[in-house]
């Protein structure tokens, strides 16, 4: 029999017959990826200077900007706490900065409910730069001009890396909504 709509049985998210999205995957994947991003200090990169972008924070921003409402506003508290355990920052710096970032995005979202790629990137850059500078200032080390110069490459790298992270998150978002659960 000729099919009327080729999409009626299968679409990019998997089979449409007898399959549903997994709740665990749909809600857990953003949290899991951000937590894994926070484990970046365990990468076998022993850096003599801060060079690696704060991956956990970038992933948080990307998820938040891509899917408003998926992460609750208070998500900064647990995610920041976990980030603090490994980032080398004093305890509480991640909690403070992650929560502030989420509130600021919320306020930006009220202003601009519909955003495009450039506005998202601008928003992210406008949050990443103060994040890295503030994190360096409250790291417990004496803030010297040398130190502030040393984080410049990291800032640049993080801002440039954000669209790539956002794209990876978009791919993960497709994975998140795959129909993997069988309905019996």
């Amino acid at each position: 029999m000729e099919r009327l709509n080729p999409q009626s049985r299968r679409d990019p998210y998997g089979s449409r017959i007898n399959r549903r999205e997994s709740t665990l995957l749909a809600y857990g994947l953003p949290w899991a990826t951000i937590l894994v991003g926070s484990l970046a200090p365990w990468l076998p990169i022993i850096a003599p200077a801060p060079v690696l972008p704060p991956l956990g924070f970038l992933l948080l921003l990307a998820w938040r900007l891509l899917r408003p409402g998926l992460l609750p506003t208070w998500a900064g508290l647990p995610l920041g706490l976990f980030d603090d355990l490994y980032s080398g920052q004093p305890m509480g710096s991640g909690v403070l900065l992650f929560s502030l970032a989420l509130i600021i995005i919320e306020l930006i979202e009220i202003r601009f409910p519909w955003r495009n790629f450039w506005l998202d990137w601008l928003t992210a850059a406008g949050i990443i730069v103060p994040y890295i500078v503030t994190a360096a200032l409250i790291s417990g080390a004496e803030p010297t001009p040398v130190q502030l110069a040393a984080i410049a490459p990291q800032i640049l790298l993080s801002v440039i890396l954000f669209p790539i992270i956002a794209r990876i998150v978009a791919m993960l978002d497709r994975l998140r909504l795959m129909r993997v659960r069988r309905i019996d």
Binding site: P41, P48, P50, P72, P90, M91, G92, L102
Partner: protein
Amino acid sequence: MAPPAHRRSGVNRKAQLGVFTGYVVAGLGVLFGAALLTISLLRPETFNGLRTMASDAAAPIGVVGAEGRTGAQGVFEAIAGYYRAGSRNAELEEEARIARVRLAEAEAVRQENARLKAVLGLATDNTEPVAVARLIGSTSSSARRLGYISAGRNHGVRPGMPVTSPMGLVGRVLEAGAVSSRVLLLTDSESMVPVRRATDNVVAFAEGRSDGSLRLRLVNLGINPIKPGDVFVTSGAGGLFRPGTAVAIATEITRDGAIAQLVSNPAATDVVVVEPIWQPEAVDTLQGRSPDSSPAPAG
């Protein structure tokens, strides 16, 4: 993407309250974070237990990564074997560099020996390492320079112990967990190591600059005797670090000392040795005299 419809509360009182509660909880998160931050800045050791537990839990990932790093090096070396000529040259240069450091260290040890024998009639003996560990990670995105090693209290590691590599000093243990420890690397801006020139007794402090280099500050100000290329070794002042371990090579002369490059770059280090504190009694006495000083500045 636009926010979902249920976020636009409109006149729905319940939705309004939900949005409001979200803000309140997020605000509480900010306050909680600020409070935590204040506590951990004023008393940095408060959360050591929590952190060491967390790093113990994650250490296996780091160990796998570190093994991967070594393995990958093996693979690349095998490939590089086909293009040997250039890398051979680099290898020999590296060897010559190590030999230069060794020579300077030997010179320092000889001097140390002569001085001690002359003054006390004692000879320095080789210290037994506490543990041999892998450098499995570092805080590569924070402004602080801390590393993680794969040995902890179970292996006898205690806070304060010096961590060295075959090339020279790497840092010292800041917090020791059960199977992993955090190491304050030399380049951290809170790290300070008493050093002297390998060839004579020009003493200085080596402070981290958190951009990968060290700042040497002379103890005796006056005419700056340092020349580019001078090797500095630990002086043993303060009792924490065994004297004669290579630390840095001066590259650029400043008004009160020099900018120096690390001899033992942690990026090129795989296996490290945790050594016992050189003079535990002296360290105890010094810390007993000023118990409120944070563990950061050594010596």
